[in-house]
C-alpha cells in the first residue's frame, strides 16, 4: 500500500516531548484581554460577588486558556525577533520554531503537507492568575489510510496541560492530517 508514513515517522509513535513551559505566569491582564476578545459578557470574569457565590476561585482563566499560553508564538524576551526581519509580503506563522521538540516533530517527506483537522478537549480545572502552565505532548497514534486523492496519515497527538503543582488543567486530543499536496509528485512509498 502506498503511504506517506516513512519507517522513521512510524517509530516516533509513543514518544513524548519534554515539558514546554509558558513564557509568562497567568496574569489578570491576559484573562481580561481573552474575555474581551471572545465577547464574553458573563459577570463571572469581573464581579466579585458572582465569583464569591460560585465554587470557583477568583482569578480563574477561561477553559481553553492553557492551550494558547504555551504556544510557540509566545516569544521570550532576549530571543531573536522573526518579525523584525520580515519583508512586506513575507509569511509569518510561528514565533520560535526552536521550541519544536524533535521527539514529536514529524518531518514529512517532500511534497507531503500536514494540517490541523480538529480536536477534543477534556477540561478538569481552570488555570489561575499566578499559575505557570506547562505542556507535554505525546504522539499517540498514526493511522494510514487511502483518501480520494491518494494516501494520507491521520496523526493523533495528546497534549496534557498542567500547572506548577502538576495538577492537570486540560487534555487536548488533537488530530492532524498529512497528505501529498497538489503539484508535488514526490513522497514516501
Amino acid at each position: 500500500m502506498e503511504t506517506v508514513v516513512t519507517p522513521e515517522i512510524r517509530k516516533m509513535v509513543g514518544q513524548s516531548s519534554q515539558p514546554r513551559h509558558a513564557v509568562d505566569i497567568v496574569s489578570e491582564s491576559d484573562i481580561r484581554r481573552w474575555v474581551i476578545a471572545t465577547m464574553d459578557d458573563s459577570p463571572f470574569w469581573y464581579n466579585d460577588e458572582v465569583i464569591g457565590a460560585s465554587r470557583f476561585a477568583a482569578g480563574s482563566a477561561p477553559g481553553p486558556f492553557p492551550m494558547r499560553a504555551v504556544g510557540h508564538w509566545k516569544r521570550r524576551l532576549g530571543t531573536s525577533d522573526p518579525v523584525r526581519a520580515l519583508d512586506f509580503d513575507d509569511d509569518f506563522r510561528y514565533g520560535d520554531e526552536s521550541l519544536d521538540d524533535p521527539a514529536i516533530k514529524i518531518n514529512w517527506p517532500d511534497g507531503v503537507g500536514a494540517f490541523h483537522a480538529g480536536n477534543e478537549v477534556e477540561y478538569f480545572q481552570f488555570a489561575r492568575v499566578g499559575d505557570r502552565i506547562s505542556v507535554v505532548e505525546t504522539l499517540v497514534e498514526i493511522e494510514e489510510k487511502q483518501g480520494r486523492s491518494g494516501p494520507l496519515a491521520v496523526v493523533h497527538v495528546d497534549s496534557v496541560f498542567t500547572n506548577q503543582d502538576g495538577d492537570v488543567l486540560i487534555i487536548n486530543h488533537g488530530t492532524n492530517i498529512a497528505r501529498r499536496m497538489p503539484g508535488h509528485a514526490s513522497g514516501a512509498k
Binding site: 477553559g63 492551550m67 509569511d91 477534556e122
Partner: protein, 162 residues
C-alpha cells in the same frame, strides 16, 4: 440555562448566538492570544500570498468562543467536561456566524447528570463550518454538587459506566 439535569430534555435547543465576524473581531483575538498567523487578520496577504478568498477565522478563536457559550449555558453549578470541534470549512470576515446546539443524549452516573450536545458554528449560507460535540455535567435536583476540580478519568469513567 438549566439549573439541574432534570431541566434538560433530549432535543432541547440551546439559545442561538449570532455574531458578525469582522476583521476587528479577528484582529482582537490574534492580538490577545498572540497567534499572529497573517492569514488570520491580514486579508490582503491571505488573498495575494495564500490565494485564499479572504482572511480566515482562526480555529483557536472558534474554540474559545464555543467554550464560553457552553460555559455560560452550563451555569456556575455545571461544568463543561468535554468539547470537540472540526474545522470543516473556512470562515471569512463578512460572515455572520451563528452558534447553535442541541441536546442529543443524557445519562446519570455517580450521582451526577451528563448532557451530550451536538454543537456548531454556521455561516450565512446555513452550512455548518465548525461542527462539534460537547459533554456538560449538571447537578441532579437534590443531589450533590458537581465536583471541582474534576479529576482525570472521572468523566471517562462515567461514560464507560453507561
Amino acid at each position: 440555562m438549566p439549573e439541574f439535569y432534570e431541566d434538560v430534555a433530549v432535543g432541547d435547543a440551546l439559545p442561538e448566538v449570532v455574531q458578525k465576524l469582522t476583521i476587528p473581531v479577528m484582529q482582537r483575538w490574534v492580538a490577545s492570544s498572540e497567534t499572529l498567523r497573517r492569514d488570520h487578520y491580514d486579508a490582503k496577504f491571505a488573498i495575494e500570498h495564500d490565494g485564499l478568498p479572504n482572511a480566515v477565522m482562526s480555529g483557536s478563536f472558534s474554540q474559545a468562543y464555543i467554550w464560553q457559550l457552553l460555559f455560560n449555558w452550563a451555569g456556575l453549578n455545571g461544568w463543561v467536561l468535554k468539547a470537540a470541534q472540526k474545522n470543516a470549512r473556512m470562515v471569512h470576515p463578512g460572515t455572520t456566524i451563528t452558534f447553535s446546539g442541541t441536546v442529543t443524549g443524557k445519562y446519570e452516573a455517580d450521582g451526577l447528570g451528563y448532557v451530550e450536545l451536538e454543537i456548531g458554528l454556521r455561516g450565512d449560507d446555513g452550512a455548518v463550518a465548525v461542527p462539534g460535540s460537547a459533554t456538560i455535567v449538571l447537578p441532579l435536583r437534590g443531589g450533590r454538587q458537581v465536583p471541582y476540580p474534576f479529576t482525570v478519568g472521572q468523566g471517562s469513567d462515567a461514560r464507560a459506566a453507561r
